[in-house]
């Protein structure tokens, strides 16, 4: 059984989570969140893959050619764009946090609360 892509998913997820937990900088934290989310793209495309199948575009190949699952591809594609916008929103929060508290260290920010 070929499981290498799923091992890659686990590795990307673990690396991203480790970064999230140990982060000392909000921008670094947001980048780690992107890494965590990237693991879902690999997983989605991985579960939809069919050995030897074509891309689900039938412009220049005959209809009924075996093709990979288009649903997971559609999910991944909208997700990438939405993620970029949400990342911008998080970075905007980081800018405001820096303006208010003068620090971008999440562990210091927790101590400032109260």
């Amino acid at each position: 059984m070929q499981i290498f892509p799923f091992a890659v998913v686990a590795w990307i997820l673990a690396v991203g989570l480790y970064g999230l937990v140990t982060s000392r900088h909000l921008v670094h934290l947001i980048m780690c969140l992107i890494v965590v989310q990237s693991s879902t793209y690999v997983l989605l495309l991985g579960v939809g893959y069919k050995t030897g199948a074509a891309a689900p575009y039938f412009f220049d190949i005959p209809a009924h050619t075996p093709a990979v699952d288009p649903v997971v591809q559609a999910l991944a594609l909208t997700d990438v764009v939405v993620e970029a916008a949400v990342t911008a929103l998080l970075l905007a929060f980081a800018i405001q946090a820096h303006k208010r508290f003068g620090t971008l260290d999440p562990q210091e920010l927790v101590q400032l609360k109260g």
């Binding site: 673990a14 288009p70 970075l91």
Partner: protein, 257 residues
């Protein structure tokens, strides 16, 4: 919680996660063995039913159109959120915007953009617009669609910023116009759905003529129309976000904290 404790808590949680992941993996078919019927069914029927050869777009804008409407509004809300969070605070005023953005931390001029960067950015602007337009208008044909096309179109505006200055960027994408384009195109997607309801069909039913040649630009009815609206919405949202972030570099704070 000290960093050490945090790391231990993380390792314990990861061990649990790894156990569940391996358990789940044991139940998955191996990579490359696709079991679900859904993807196969859509691949089989989409070309004949929706007259679209780009099945991913057919899924996005037709079969799961309602879901994409939700995704599009997440994007809309995120862009609105950026504009709201980065609104001017009471103790901030705009820097004299006649010059280029400054390096605020060191209180010195940002180095001027080199001639090479300006030339490359200018030369790439035209092709970028063409590619973005092509992507946004060929959702039903090839690997493209409004999401990709919109991002590429927004890139053209960023190239113009690179070639010129922030003032030029603001002049070619005034916030009012960008806001209006974003709102109208986000609403346009929803309105296409409502138009189907007015015609007596279910929400987001493909009510336009489908054409006869699968994959032709004029084929596939509302797929092309929705993709066009999504392209405008995504492009405007990213221009808005980039503009807001660039605007931050022009802010001066009165009194430092």
């Amino acid at each position: 919680m000290t960093p050490g404790q945090r790391r231990w808590a993380f390792l314990i949680a990861m061990a649990g996660l790894a156990a569940f992941y391996l358990w789940g993996l044991a139940g998955l078919p191996g990579f490359g063995t696709y079991l679900g019927p859904y993807g196969n069914v859509i691949n089989r029927i989409a070309v004949a039913q929706a007259k679209a050869t780009g099945v991913v777009s057919a899924v996005n804008f037709e079969y799961r159109g309602f879901d994409t409407l939700g995704e599009e509004f997440i994007l809309f809300v995120a862009a609105t959120g950026v504009a709201t969070v980065l609104r001017r605070l009471r103790d901030e005023r705009a820097r004299d915007a006649s010059g280029e953005a400054r390096d605020e931390a060191m209180d010195r001029e940002a180095p001027p953009t080199s001639g090479a960067v300006r030339m490359v950015a200018l030369a790439l602007t035209g092709p970028t617009v063409v590619i973005g337009w092509y992507l946004a208008s060929h959702a039903q044909t090839s690997p493209s669609g409004g999401f990709q096309g919109g991002v590429v179109l927004a890139t053209a505006f960023i190239l113009i910023y690179l070639a010129g200055q922030f003032l030029v960027f603001e002049r070619i994408s005034p916030a009012g116009v960008t806001d209006a384009v974003e709102a109208v195109s986000a609403g346009g997607f929803a309105a296409v759905g409502i138009a189907a309801v007015v015609a007596g069909l279910a929400y987001l039913t493909n009510f336009l003529p489908l054409g006869t040649t699968p994959g032709a630009v004029s084929s596939s009815g509302t797929i092309a129309l929705i993709s066009f609206f999504v392209g405008l919405e995504v492009g405007a949202a990213f221009v808005l976000i980039v503009g807001e972030l660039l605007d931050q570099t022009l802010l001066l704070r009165q009194g430092s904290r």
